[in-house]
Symmetry: C3
Amino acid sequence: MKSTTMYLTFTTKRKHAFINITQDVRKVVEESKISEGICLVNAMHITASVFINDDERGLHEDFEKWLEDLAPHSPTEHYKHNDTGEDNADAHLKRQIMGREVIVAITNAKLDFGPWEQIFYGEFDGQRNKRVLVKVIGE
Amino acid sequence: MKSTTMYLTFTTKRKHAFINITQDVRKVVEESKISEGICLVNAMHITASVFINDDERGLHEDFEKWLEDLAPHSPTEHYKHNDTGEDNADAHLKRQIMGREVIVAITNAKLDFGPWEQIFYGEFDGQRNKRVLVKVIGE
Amino acid sequence: MKSTTMYLTFTTKRKHAFINITQDVRKVVEESKISEGICLVNAMHITASVFINDDERGLHEDFEKWLEDLAPHSPTEHYKHNDTGEDNADAHLKRQIMGREVIVAITNAKLDFGPWEQIFYGEFDGQRNKRVLVKVIGE
């Protein structure tokens, strides 16, 4: 069994962002020289997500609005977590909806994807360095 | 390390459906001859889910109603994504709640399941060919 | 490829609980002698979750309240599933939000974690024996 581990770092300009990281992951898979196996991609911070969905700007606006409805940022004093001095309780909740990680099959040395699958980093409390782990295992 | 990859295709009669695919996955695991490892099962389309829960018709009706409350289909013009000509923005959202994939342990050549665990394909925008990937890796 | 499989059992005093199981998982990883690979941790029951987030009591109260808003326990007759004699339909829904499983990279014989990542068992219908599976594969 072979394995390759890489860390990607993101510093978003805004608090919230969706970034297409498919090419970054593809590069790690190529460098791994693994032709059959799996690829784990996970946020290493607990106010961010990695998920697979459509690379369509309108949909991302829909996600943003929907997540704000389901887990609103304000009023910040609504959340016990924010009594610690943080104001990011909502980001911890949003990350549960969108998920921490994805696992993608590697077949014939490629991400084994359906026609529209793209991997995104979802940031809900950005403007600082945050990491994503990519690990490929297989042969 | 050995691996086996299979693709299942589903064409649902209705837009929404929950289909128990446990037997299909079990068959792939048996054919893989892998006794210790893991099995990845993921929707290859971004308006569908794979998840593990109970095979109980009433619960599936509850899921359906609950998802419609959390991410309603109508009014379709409520969603920016639908400006592209699609009407399935809600399906992209529902899929995030229910998840894209599951990973099941393979122990002693079997799906290592608790008493009630069953694998479902969740369709939120059906009536066309859509695929599920099953990949088993291990030894 | 090596593998190790362990089962953890939890019996919570209350119906709902969040239990930090990071040390339990770490112990399994150490015993596995695997230095590069992945670790799967999943609830074996369908009214419980395994997830990664912050070990902060206030946040756990926020999760509890938020999940009760999104998938309320009462009125229990609101759910078809409860016509079977159960009263735990809401627990099946809550588990979908929080997730069934996590996959953690093993690098240099350790859980390859960001600074705040901790693994939790989330119980939504407790007061009875329930199991979590931990499987490590790699080399």
